[in-house]
Structure formats: structure tokens, C-alpha cells
């Protein structure tokens, strides 16, 4: 017997949850109307395996080779539910009490519902409003929020198609994303070891094979490859960690929670109170100094400024406190004998430290101090000697000419995309990075022609937005210039994403060092302000794939800012009605990438790199258009000339795919027309990569004089010469790193006075079953017990992890509805009582969807970023703080819930799907 298994149409798709250049190919079956299933791709169906030179890491008698099929993360396999979610925006929506000609009711943003309108009406409104704002305040009154955490697409990308249109209308205001994945390394470690542009070791090529061959121990310091790597790479990192463990490497997890990798791979779990890791690091250093068990010779030849830091650790400086294991034990809750054991184990065994862009390194108050101390510890044991690295489980190809895993292709590829990340005039770049990016055409970080760049660096006031983000290969395809770069004027000014609320609510703001994403260290010395001279304050916001309330700092304050009557119009474009969409006056329905044609590259999975053609897997849902066409429809209303320039004379998606392939950098290798005939071209692995590319900072380790780092002295700087020169009196980021229990900007320790009212530390990380604020609506995930907790009222609450002991002290039982709160507001969660988290802590992942009861202070969805601290990382470091902050947790009693229901009957009456949660129907009138 055999039946129609509905696989006659097969298309390739990557979910690409972390923007362009992320993701791996899957095969999507459909019957032409509806997606049937999503499966791994078997590479041998499309190419001869041996001809791809699959890499082989050999260590301790065992081999690691890339899988012969893609290993999609669970999110990919459930994406059908995302496409057909009942939370999709199906048609243009307008907030019922926002009227173009009448009352705008900004105070009702986040409260009032929506009505369906036509595309014609919607685009009319946006075109008229944009031109009215331009006329009244100038284009700088329009803020474009377009910077990641949505789907990665190329032909019609999320994240910035509106940039193209706004730039055609004149210099607007660009929201400059803070370095949300790398805050601590960016603002901290960069001052120890350079590591331009993000502050993590650079170069980082070939480090994993070196670790496999030489390391005895891997420290997972807030690293969870099962979670944070999955959205980028799929599950090759998972396979890699199982393999490394099978070699006999000892896996030690330092983490407030036993994370999803640790649950069955940890040889040792050291629970630590959230964001006290800097104290732990200092005590490790103390043990090494007092017992002499560090690489003194290496420090002598490779380090400057060690003495002042060592004096601080030993208590010989002003504070007079030796940073002993006993001292650290009180702060971290780790027994002092365990701290000593850890320090000695690290000193005795060849150890690499592994990270996953999570934890205190990016998310805590003063994250730069923890990261600097981490860098110093690695340096004290001979950084980049065999098996001694800082290695990442993800972003293996990030801004490095060489990959951390040996899946690098024989030639570098990069697919252009039609929404450049633009920077305001005067933004700086690291010149080497530019040269590198230019070679690769790394359009997602705004690469440009290197010579042109240097010229413009010397002609100060020239805007960069105009210049071309073209690799050499791309420049050969003439029309690409026209298609990808129509921008005649750069944005007039920038606002740091982590300070957008301040920019709206304050007269003016100032900050240091964030005027371009991934800027060079020298940008950190410069002060910027908003509004710029001759520029306007913000009166209109155009946002795509928005997630400020669910991923950024002090979300309730962001709501307050958007309810300001200064903000006359907010337009959002997004496939789903979620996150900041409720704050918009008008919402455009966007197709998911499964509904549109595109081209994609896999430079991240760790398997075999490839470029593939993505056809639409199903017809569009509702009246949705792709991101590019949403903006094009507005451009059409503004005027024919603008429309033709925006669309580069109506270039079609199919044309773009063809041109982007020609400009991919690898088209010339495809002698058998595989891309055209089979829809995918695999780039063979560089065969001699492991022999020819030194691992990470090895050249520096071998010969520091001739291979200097990108620090001012070329050496590892335990005391930063740059910080000493520019911020000698900064108490929160002094020249050498310190423990800050309480500072001018943050007071988030258990020893604080505030802890009397808010006695728990809240930790937050990437969710296991979401990617940032994506995928919270997948019913098949929401029934997994660590994804949601169904309360006694039937609502699926976001889990708040509490240690058994802490829960008992609070009188809370597993499954209780609880409120997690502080001065900034209340977020409702479901208690998840477990032994997997340290006491005195509550752990709530970020990214649960906002379900406002009162949008200024009470949320039922569990979007914990609503109550994250307002202040930036520290006085002169413009990052965000979204973990390691004080809260209280209490059981919600029936009387209190009843009172809320009485006070907010409309919010509680909104339809919520029992299995999907908040949904479109709940927000329609």
C-alpha cells in the first residue's frame, strides 16, 4: 500500500533566526497549498560527499566529521506552526482610537484594540503621515527601529527595508543597536586583548580542533550550547560537545542553573549566585597568586599592567580587602573549599573556557568587569597555548576570516541583502575589520570598500551610508550596486537602542561610545548626544520585527515613552501580533520567509557551507506581503520617482536571487550549474585548514613582539592603558577590573538595602524553546514542561524557576501563579520548583510575549524584560542590563487576581488561545 504523502513540492528553507548568514538548509514538503512537513536535508541527495572535502578532526584516537544531513534545531521542525499561527497579522491593522485627522490617543497604546483596514488605506496613512512629519519637523523626527531578532532574509529582509525609503526622503534617525550579544566583552575584554570588533578573541580560527587535541577540561561558564547555539547552528555544537566529552574531557559548569547541556553532560556543576561571577574570578586569581600556580613567564612576556591588578586582588590597594575564597564565598554562595579546588583544577589541567553569548558576560550589571577578569584568568594560564582558549559554541564564522570549526569553504561566500545596516555620518570603523569585511562583503555589518573607507575616514563629515557594501565578487555584478544601495544620505543622527526611552522622555541625552554597531575601540572614547544640532526629537517611529519590551531594558519605561503625546505615529511591520506591535498605531502584515522566494547561505551550521535557492513553500497567509514590498507600497503612494528608486526600477525577487547568487563570491566555483539545476551549491571545505591556520591567538602566544594584539601596547593589558588615559576616574570601569557590589548606576546585590524589599536575584537567559522573542506561540513547544506552566485558571504562564528551599520559604508550590516584581512593575509567571537552580534566585527566560493587563506595570505573559534595570551597563559603557537584578516573588492570591480582574475587565476578557496564548482575535474589535 502506498498513499500520497504530499511531498510533491520540495523547497529548501532555513529558519535563519539570527538574521542573514544564520541557519542551515531543511527540505520543506508541501502539496502546493499547505506545508506538509519540514525535514533535514541529506547533502548526498544533491552532491557527491567526498567531493566536498568533509573535514575531519582527529583527537585522542577518535574522529569528528560533519554530519551527512543538516541537524535542524527543534524550532525549524515546528516552524509550520509559526507560519500558520493564530497570532499572525493577516491584514493591515489600525488601532481603533488612533485617527489621522482626529484624536490620536497615544495614552492608549498597549490598551486599545485594532480594526482591519485595506492596504490602500494603510499605505495612504503611512505616506501622508511620513510626509507631514517631514514637513513639520524634518526627516530626523522619524526613528527607524530595524536591527535584528527577526527572521533573516536577503531579497526582502526584516530589519531595515524602511531604511531605504526613509533615506530617499532625507536623513532620518537610526536606532543604533547596542552590542546585546557581547556587552561584557565589547566594553570590557576589548581593553584586555583587543579582539576587534566585538571583544571576543579575534582571530578565532581553528580553535575547536586545538581544544579537542589538547584540552583536559572545558569550563562552561554560563555556556549552554544546547540552547544558545541551536538557533544559529542547529545541533552540530551539540554533537561536538558529546564528542568532546567522549574524549574524556572534564565538563565543569559554572552557572546559577544546571542548564540544558549540563543536565546530562556536567561532570561538575558549581552553582553560583547570578552576576557574582566577577567575585569568583577574583578569588581564583587570589589562589593562583598566593600559591604561585600560574604561568609567570607568560605573564612577564605577554602582559602589561599586571601588578596593580594583582595588588588589588591581594588587598594591597585602597580597599585593603584580599579577594580570598572566603570573601568570594559570601558573595557567590560557592563554598570556599570548592573555589580553591576549582582554581587548582584549572591550574593543573589544560583548560579552555567556553561561552555561548549568555550569562553575566553579556547580561548583568557591570558585565565588563566579569569579562575582563575572565580574560585575565585565561591569560594567567597562557592564553592560546595548546588547548587554552576562550571558545564559543556559536558564531563560528563571525567577523573572522577563519572559522573556529574547520568547515570553512575553499572560498568565502556572502549573500548581499537589500537592507543594509546603516550608520549615521561620522561613525567609525576598525580599519582591519573593514578590509576583511570588504574582502568578504559582509553586508550584515555594513562592509564597504576599504580604500573608499579610508578616504572617508580622513574626510570626516562624509556620511557612510552612501558607500557600497560590496565584496570584490559583488562589485563585478554591476546592478547589485543599484539594488542594494540606493541610499543617498546617511541618517542624520542615532539613538542607542538601550536609551530610546530616554531619548523620548528626556530633553536630551548623552552617552559614550555607541554610534555604530561593532565600532572600533576608539569610538568608546567619544561622547555623543541626541538630538544632534539641527535635528529634531522623535515624533514618528517605524519599527520592524520589534521586541523592545521582550528583549531589551526596562520595557515598562519603553511603553511609557511610547504613550508620550510627542510620538504622533507608530507604524510596525511584522508577521505576528506580538511584542511591541501592541504599541503601534498601524501594523502591516508581513510574510514569513516560508511564503516568499529568497536566497540563503549556510555559513554557520558547522557542517558543509552552501548557498541555496529558497522558493515559496506555500501561498502567503492572508494579505501579507514580504518586508520589501510592504515598504514599496508606501513608496508608491509617496511618488513614482521614489517608488522607482526604492525598487531599483521594479527589480523582481527572481532577479535579485539571480544577481545575489552571481555576487555570492562562490558562483564561479559552480561549474556544473548546481545552484540553477538543483537549487543548492555546496562549497567544498578548505582541505588544509587545520594545518595552515594557527588556532586563535597562537601567533601572539608564540611571539608577542611580532604578533601584537590590537591593544594600545600590543600586549594583554591587565590594567588598560586606554581606560587609564580616557576614564582614569571611572569608579565603575576603572583601568583594572574590580568587584562592584554597589555602584552609581546599579545597586543589584543581595547585600543592598533594596534587597529588603526585593530579596531575590533574577536571572534571565535565552529560552530553550524560543529564539529571543520568536516562537513563543508554538503550541507544540508550549506543552513541554519547561516551556509553560498551566495555572489553575487555565492560562499558560511563563515558568519562574525557584529552588525547592526558596519556594518553601516563600510558601510557593510548583504550578502556583506568582508575581515577579520590583519598583518597575509586575510580571506574572508560573512557579517551576526545581533543584536545578541556586537558592535566593528566580530564573525567568526572556522572550515570552507581552500580554499587558496594564501596559505600564502589569503583564500576564511573563515578559520579564519589562522589569529589567533601566540604566546602561555602567557610567561610560552603553550596554544593557537584563539579568542579575533584584526582584521579589510572591504567590498571587485569589483576592489579588480578583481585584485585578475587576479593575481591568477588558484586558482579562481579551481572547487567549488555551494552547497558543495571546492571539490575533484577542486584539481585534
Amino acid at each position: 500500500m502506498s498513499i500520497d504523502v504530499k511531498d510533491r513540492q520540495k523547497t529548501f528553507k532555513a529558519a535563519s533566526l539570527m538574521g542573514p548568514r544564520s541557519g542551515l538548509p531543511t527540505v520543506v514538503d508541501s502539496d502546493g497549498e499547505k506545508i506538509t512537513r519540514i525535514r533535514p536535508m541529506y547533502y548526498e541527495d544533491y552532491a557527491n560527499w567526498e567531493s566536498l572535502n568533509p573535514y575531519k578532526i582527529i583527537a585522542k584516537g577518535k574522529e569528528f566529521t560533519p554530519p551527512k544531513k543538516s541537524l535542524p534545531a527543534v524550532y525549524y521542525l515546528s516552524y509550520k506552526k509559526r507560519v500558520y499561527s493564530n497570532n499572525r497579522v493577516k491584514w493591515p491593522l489600525k488601532r481603533v482610537d488612533w485617527n489621522l485627522e482626529g484624536e490620536r490617543n497615544p495614552q492608549n497604546r498597549g490598551k486599545s484594540k485594532y480594526e482591519r483596514i485595506s492596504w490602500d488605506e494603510a499605505t495612504d496613512i503611512i505616506a501622508k503621515e511620513t510626509m507631514r512629519i517631514k514637513e513639520k519637523y524634518g526627516m530626523s523626527a522619524v526613528l527607524a527601529e530595524a536591527d535584528m531578532h527577526g527572521e533573516g532574509k536577503h531579497v526582502a529582509p526584516s530589519h531595515g527595508c524602511m531604511n531605504r525609503l526613509l533615506a530617499l526622503l532625507g536623513g532620518y534617525t537610526v536606532q543604533m543597536r547596542n552590542e546585546d550579544s557581547w556587552e561584557g566583552w565589547y566594553w570590557g575584554s576589548k581593553h584586555v586583548w583587543g579582539g576587534e570588533p566585538v571583544g571576543q578573541p579575534q582571530p578565532s580560527g581553528n580553535v575547536w580542533p586545538d581544544i579537542a587535541k589538547h584540552a583536559d577540561t572545558l569550563l562552561f561558564w554560563a555556556a549552554d550550547p544546547e540552547v544558545t547555539a541551536a538557533g544559529f547552528e542547529g545541533y552540530v555544537p551539540s554533537k561536538l560537545s558529546y564528542w568532546l566529552h567522549s574524549l574524556g574531557q572534564k565538563f565543569i559548569f559554572i552557572d546559577p542553573a544546571l542548564n540544558f547541556t549540563g543536565v546530562n553532560q556536567a561532570d561538575k556543576w558549581i552553582p553560583v549566585l547570578p552576576n557574582t561571577d566577577a567575585a569568583l574570578g577574583l578569588a581564583i586569581c587570589y589562589v593562583w597568586l598566593t600559591e604561585g600556580c600560574y604561568d609567570k613567564e607568560y605573564v612577564k612576556t605577554h602582559v602589561v599592567g599586571a601588578e596593580p591588578f594583582f595588588d588589588y586582588v591581594l588587598g594591597k590597594t585602597e580597599d585593603g580587602i584580599p579577594k580570598t575564597p572566603k570573601w568570594a564565598s559570601e558573595k557567590t554562595s560557592v563554598p570556599s573549599y570548592t573555589i580553591k579546588a576549582l582554581a587548582r583544577h584549572w591550574a593543573k589541567n589544560v583548560t579552555s573556557l567556553t561561552i555561548g553569548n549568555g550569562g553575566p558576560g553579556i547580561r548583568g550589571p557591570y558585565s565588563h568587569e566579569h569579562c575582563r577578569i575572565q580574560s585575565i584568568l585565561l591569560s594567567m594560564q597562557g592564553l592560546a597555548k595548546p588547548g587554552r582558549h576562550l571558545a564559543k559554541w556559536l558564531e563560528w564564522a563571525l567577523m573572522s576570516k577563519d572559522y573556529a570549526m574547520p568547515f570553512q569553504g575553499i572560498e568565502e561566500m556572502n549573500i548581499p541583502h537589500r537592507a543594509e545596516l546603516v550608520r549615521p555620518a561620522g561613525a567609525l570603523f576598525d580599519e582591519d575589520m573593514i578590509k576583511e569585511m570588504n574582502k568578504r562583503g559582509m553586508s550584515d555589518v555594513g562592509a564597504i570598500d576599504a580604500e573608499e573607507m579610508v578616504r572617508r575616514l580622513t574626510e570626516k563629515d562624509f556620511g557612510f551610508a552612501e558607500v557600497l557594501s560590496m565584496s570584490d565578487a559583488q562589485k563585478k555584478v554591476g546592478r547589485l550596486v543599484e539594488i542594494t544601495n540606493p541610499i543617498p544620505t546617511p541618517p542624520a543622527q542615532a539613538v542607542p537602542k538601550c536609551m530610546v526611552h530616554d531619548a523620548i522622555l528626556n530633553d536630551e541625552i548623552e552617552w559614550y561610545g555607541l554610534y555604530s554597531f561593532c565600532g572600533p575601540v576608539k569610538e568608546q572614547w567619544d561622547k555623543f548626544k541626541f538630538p544632534e544640532k539641527n535635528c529634531s526629537r522623535i515624533h514618528m517611529i517605524w519599527t520592524d520585527s520589534p521586541c523592545m519590551v521582550t528583549c531589551w531594558n526596562d520595557g515598562y519605561n519603553f511603553v511609557k515613552a511610547l504613550q508620550s503625546d510627542e510620538i504622533e505615529f507608530v507604524v510596525a511591520q511584522h508577521p505576528w501580533l506580538e511584542n511591541d506591535c501592541y504599541l503601534a498605531d498601524l501594523i502591516l502584515p508581513v510574510q514569513t520567509k516560508f511564503e516568499m522566494e529568497d536566497i540563503c547561505d549556510d555559513a554557520t551550521s558547522g557542517g558543509i557551507t552552501s548557498v541555496f535557492h529558497e522558493m515559496a513553500a506555500c501561498p502567503p497567509v492572508g494579505e501579507s506581503l514580504n518586508d520589501f514590498d510592504c515598504v514599496a507600497e508606501v513608496a508608491r503612494k509617496i511618488g513614482h520617482d521614489i517608488y522607482m528608486r526604492y525598487t531599483a526600477n521594479e527589480t523582481t525577487s527572481a532577479d535579485c536571487v539571480d544577481l545575489f547568487w552571481q555576487g555570492s563570491g562562490v558562483a564561479h566555483l559552480d561549474t556544473e550549474d548546481s545552484f540553477k539545476n538543483k537549487g543548492i551549491f555546496f562549497v567544498p571545505c578548505k582541505p588544509d585548514m587545520q594545518e595552515t591556520i594557527p588556532p586563535g591567538y597562537r601567533p601572539f602566544a608564540d611571539d608577542p613582539e611580532n604578533n601584537p594584539l590590537k591593544t594600545p601596547t600590543g600586549k594583554l593589558e591587565f590594567t588598560s592603558t586606554g581606560l587609564q588615559k580616557h576614564f582614569p576616574d571611572d569608579k565603575e570601569r576603572p583601568p583594572y577590573p574590580i568587584w562592584i557590589e554597589k555602584g552609581e548606576f546599579h545597586d543589584e546585590s543581595l547585600s543592598s538595602e533594596r534587597a529588603k524589599d526585593y530579596p531575590l536575584l533574577c536571572m534571565s537567559n535565552h529560552g530553550r524553546w524560543r529564539f529571543h522573542a520568536n516562537l513563543d506561540d508554538i503550541t507544540w513547544h508550549r506543552e513541554i514542561e519547561t516551556m509553560k506552566i498551566r495555572g489553575k485558571d487555565g492560562y499558560q504562564y511563563e515558568p519562574a524557576w525557584l529552588n525547592t528551599k526558596t519556594a518553601a520559604e516563600l510558601g510557593i508550590q510548583h504550578g502556583d501563579i506568582v508575581k515577579v516584581y520590583n519598583e518597575r512593575g509586575v510580571v506574572l509567571c508560573g512557579a517551576y520548583v526545581t533543584e536545578r537552580v541556586v537558592p535566593q534566585t528566580v530564573y525567568v527566560d526572556h522572550g515570552a510575549r507581552f500580554d499587558p493587563i496594564d501596559p505600564l506595570w502589569l503583564d500576564r505573559g511573563g515578559a520579564v524584560n519589562l522589569i529589567t534595570p533601566h540604566a546602561i551597563s555602567s557610567k561610560n559603557a552603553t550596554g544593557m542590563v537584563v539579568s542579575g537584578f533584584l526582584v521579589a516573588v510572591e504567590k498571587v492570591m485569589d483576592e489579588e487576581m480578583g481585584a485585578w480582574m475587576k479593575k481591568y475587565p477588558e484586558a482579562f476578557a481579551r481572547k487567549v488561545d488555551p494552547d497558543c496564548g495571546v492571539c490575533l482575535d484577542g486584539w481585534l474589535v
Binding site: 504523502v5 534545531a73 521542525l77 580553591k340 593543573k348
Partner: protein, 271 residues
């Protein structure tokens, strides 16, 4: 030749890909006459069961995928009064949705609780081994195909013989010949950390001996002072901790119905 599943529990990362891929295949897709759609939520033709053990910081989680065991002598077939359940030549057991009346007798009979009652379609339903795909030329069901670590495999029992050797089945006492084999199901553990409270140091190389009935297990504490007595049978264990220069320490009659973390144990120096 009978088909079988083999699951290496030690390699299961708990990613839930198998559970979700099963839903991707069977929710909203009608594969009659093999099966009608699986309900979107609440039922699991393949279910990951996760079990946490121990207390902080000696904790682990074990993930065990559970599904229809496609038994050699299925209890469900015997229980069904309508002859709706059939065993195919390849050993897969299918409930025919055309014949099933949803009476639920098979559910009661299945010792593995792998059959669900679909209240919408009034059918009893369960894993089909993705027989509709196998019959269309696919090599394996969705659940095993998506397993990233290779923990979950499917094939002819004879081809999997090496993996099946020494593997366990769930509830072997039923004697109905289940065809889902589990490798490396972990036993219980007793663990702890040894330290010297005066010196404020961990104690390495202490001998920890566990005795239960005639069984004796010895381990040494490691450089964190940790000891792990793993893969213990459920029962009552006596523990003796010895280290030169320290008083012996005993724990008697420790029950291992649950895993035991003895916590941080101070050893006293001999006078």
C-alpha cells in the same frame, strides 16, 4: 523482518526534536488509511519523559522517549474486539481508523500507555512507525530521522542486533515482546562532597564504599572532593567513608528509591 527502535538514553540531549517531528508529521495531516490526524496538543504518539534526580548541586535529568513498542504479541490486538488493530509483515502495529470505534479497550490493555483516545475523531490512536512514509520509499520514521545525536535509531531488528545486545526493554515482565530497546538507562546514584572544616579544604582520594546485600562498590573522591556512586540498584545501601588521618564516616540503610545527594560532608580529623 521485524522493525525495531533503539534508544541510547546516554546520548539523548532532551531536544524534543522527535516529539515535535512526530507532531509535524501527524498533526493536521490525514494519512488515512494509516492514521487520522493526531490532536494538536495534549497527546503524544511519541513522548519525551523527563525525570530530574538528586538535589543541588548533584543533579541530573534523564530523558526517555516513549512510544508504541510495536510488540511481538501485542496486548492491544488481543484486547480489541473489532479486529481493528493489525500487525504488518514488518512488525509495525497499526490501528485501522476505518474499523476502530474508539472503545478504548486497547488503551486499557497497553502496558506502555502508548494509545490515546482522540475525542474529536472518536478513535484510539498511536504511533504508526510512520508506515505511510516507509511504504512510499522513506527509510525511517520522522522521530529517528531528526535525532541530532544519533541516540534514536530505527531499522530491522537484525541490523540493529549489535545495539540491541545488552539493551533493556521497558516492563519486560509483560512478556509481549516489545520492540523498543533502551541502552544505558542510568541507575540510581548516591553522591556527596567531602571536606575538612578546619582546613577549609576538600578531601581528595577518600575511599567511599557502598554495600547492599552482597554487592560492594568502591569509589574515590575526586579533586573537588566529590564522590559519585552510580548505577546503583534500588535498595538499601550502607556507606563507609575512609581517609587516612580522619575518623570514619558511616551512613546506614540509605534507600535509593530516589537518588541521594548526601551534600557536603565534613570529615573530622583523628585526635
Amino acid at each position: 523482518m521485524a522493525k525495531a527502535f533503539v534508544i541510547d538514553v546516554a546520548l539523548c540531549s532532551g531536544c524534543y526534536c522527535c516529539q515535535v517531528a512526530c507532531k509535524d508529521e501527524h498533526c493536521g495531516n490525514d494519512w488515512s488509511p494509516y492514521a487520522k490526524p493526531q490532536p494538536d496538543t495534549g497527546q503524544f504518539w511519541l513522548k519525551i519523559c523527563e525525570k530530574p534526580d538528586g538535589t543541588i548541586p548533584k543533579v541530573r535529568v534523564t530523558y526517555t522517549p516513549k512510544l508504541c513498542n510495536h510488540c511481538e504479541r501485542p496486548a492491544c490486538i488481543a484486547a480489541c474486539g473489532k479486529e481493528a488493530i493489525k500487525k504488518r509483515d514488518d512488525g509495525l502495529v497499526l490501528i485501522d481508523p476505518e474499523i476502530c470505534t474508539g472503545c478504548g479497550k486497547c488503551m486499557d490493555a497497553c502496558p506502555y500507555e502508548s494509545i490515546y483516545k482522540n475525542e474529536d475523531s472518536k478513535l484510539c490512536q498511536k504511533c504508526t512507525g510512520c508506515a505511510h512514509l516507509l511504504d512510499s520509499g522513506y527509510n525511517e520514521p520522522r522521530c529517528t530521522e531528526v535525532c541530532p545525536t544519533g541516540a534514536f535509531q530505527f531499522g530491522d531488528e537484525s541490523e540493529l542486533a549489535d545495539l540491541i545486545k545488552g539493551a533493556d526493554v521497558l516492563k519486560p515482565e509483560t512478556g509481549i515482546g516489545p520492540k523498543v530497546y533502551y541502552r544505558n538507562i542510568p541507575g540510581q546514584f548516591i553522591a556527596g562532597t567531602l571536606f575538612d572544616p578546619i582546613e577549609d579544604e576538600i578531601i581528595e582520594y577518600a575511599r567511599v564504599m557502598a554495600v547492599s546485600g552482597g554487592k560492594i562498590i568502591n569509589v574515590l573522591s575526586d579533586d573537588f572532593g566529590d564522590f559519585w556512586l552510580r548505577d546503583l540498584a534500588v535498595g538499601a545501601w550502607d556507606i563507609t567513608i575512609t581517609k587516612e588521618g580522619y575518623e570514619h564516616k558511616h551512613f546506614y540503610n540509605l534507600r535509593t528509591d530516589e537518588c541521594v545527594n548526601l551534600g557536603d560532608i565534613a570529615l573530622d580529623r583523628k585526635a
